[in-house]
Amino acid sequence: MNLTVKIGKMVMKNPVTTASGTFGYGQEYAEFVDLNCLGAVTVKGISREPRQGNTPPRIFETPCGMLNSIGLQNVGLEAFLKEKLPYLRGFDTNVIVNILGGTIKEYIELAEALDGRVDAIELNVSCPNVKKGGILFSSDEAIFRELIREVRKNVVNSTLIVKLSPSASSILSQARICEEEGADAISMINTIPAMAIDIESRRPRLSNIIGGLSGPAIRPIGVRMVWEVHKTVRIPIIGMGGIMTAGDALEYILAGATAVAIGTANFVDPTTTMKVLKGIEDYMRNHEIEDFSSLIGGLIWDREGR
């Protein structure tokens, strides 16, 4: 059975990775998961300087999902390179580093510092939590294009992935821009901006008022968007959004994802990544599929419906 997939220059031994922000810097989950068995570890978003993040409360559970407004709390580039990356490099897995900045210059500096030292760089252009951050880049197509173009110039040795937001005015148009500007891959979907209210106190549940909705509640939206983007561009897609089981992952794969990322499910069951991987293998065995890549975009459909 061959589970190998290729995302840009990065060869993954299997199509399972983690969603940024849900797996810490890998170490937090090493007690539950053999990191060597993951296709890649995608770490928490890194900014040039350390960030304190938003004031708590930062999370709230909603039906089949959760809101978060962490505000991109992270250790910053220097501490990541010194304290977190060497640990991850001790494992036989790819390292994908999600990066975020307030200016194009910041993104470029991060890309320069990480290029060649990590397997892939994932551009966070769509995090809805920090007012001066991601949302501005993904909500203006000219700036979005310029950002990818400038970062691409500085990512020579690593694979460049752009993470798309489901709240972009046109995700298809953004996917086309990614392809035109030479991004190696797209990851999608980021969380969906959402809100919950405590009716007794009449106050928002999160101190940031708005947070990102994740979890199984958003999965059908993610699957639909991956399907649409898969029909539009040729670069590979890392599908994510509410994957709890191997079946959920296979929906994304049949819709067109080359690889999948497990996010919120890590919180529910820290061993989800391994269960998803095993479930994909079982599915391939049961369906006598030798090569995983034959499943990608394998949805059977016709234009008249179904």
Partner: protein, 252 residues
């Protein structure tokens, strides 16, 4: 020994309409908790409720651990309906713990409402001359009074409505106690609702009283990855699940 296990429900005893004590069988060879540590419980395979729920280890033996839980929403309702023989997911022990007292210190244990669940084990596990200040709205909300009397040197009950004990807050009562007795070497261990914590913090900082407070925050991963459960401290944002739940009062 993994901290992630399946655990059998040994019993589930209602105390009031809302509060109950859930006893889980600890897998053989598993680590025992320390006072103030917690576990993350998940009792369903469906996605609503979705996340594990954190609860302090209330009391334990080598074979089992008890949780004193108040029904607050969907997650706790599922736990309340568990029956002996049911199996649930257990992750823990997690977090730090109340540091044991050194030398012969007076242990001033302060609990508000369901906060007793986090500090009760101090009375069982740590040696020392202890006083428990235990407060709630009214006498019927003061739980497990018999067990408390078995373990605490001295128990001071407080109620908002005066239905039993001192009429007023545990912090007011603590202040009276300190003023009267002026213990030379004392350490506070506390857990309770936000209003109590705020008042206690202010009082302890005013008087230079030393001690530790266990904090509560909504939690997702419970393993230090998601940054969801942080509290703002004088040393920056700290994760309740890893750097907490117990914090020295001076950083709060």
């Amino acid at each position: 020994m993994s901290r992630l296990n399946r655990a059998e429900v040994l019993n589930n005893i209602p105390l009031t309409d809302r509060e109950f004590i859930l006893r889980l069988k600890l897998p053989p060879g598993s680590l025992s908790p320390m006072p103030g540590q917690f576990y993350l419980l998940r009792a369903t395979n469906t996605f609503d409720p979705l996340l594990r729920r954190p609860f302090s280890a209330f009391r334990w033996s080598d074979e089992w651990v008890d949780f004193l839980i108040s029904e607050k929403g969907k997650g706790t309702l599922v736990l309340k309906s568990l029956r002996p023989g049911d199996e649930i997911d257990l992750l823990g022990p997690a977090g730090n713990y109340f540091p044991p007292p050194s030398g012969d210190m007076k242990l001033l244990v302060v609990a508000g409402g369901i906060g007793i669940a986090s500090v009760f084990s101090i009375l069982r596990e740590y040696n020392g001359d202890s006083v428990l200040f235990y407060g709630a709205r009214s006498s019927d909300a003061l739980l497990i009074r018999k067990d408390i009397e078995d373990f605490s040197g001295e128990v001071v009950l407080c109620t908002d409505d005066g239905s039993i004990g001192f009429k007023g807050s545990v912090v007011e009562r603590l202040r009276l106690y300190i003023n009267e007795r002026t213990p030379e070497k004392a350490i506070v261990y506390a857990c309770g609702p936000e209003a109590m914590i705020t008042a206690l913090k202010t009082y302890m900082k005013e008087t230079g009283l030393r001690g530790y407070i266990s904090l509560e925050e909504r939690m997702a991963c419970g393993v230090g990855a998601c940054m969801g459960c942080v509290k703002n401290t004088s040393e920056g944002m700290k994760r309740v699940c890893i750097e907490g739940p117990v914090f020295p009062v001076e950083v709060l």
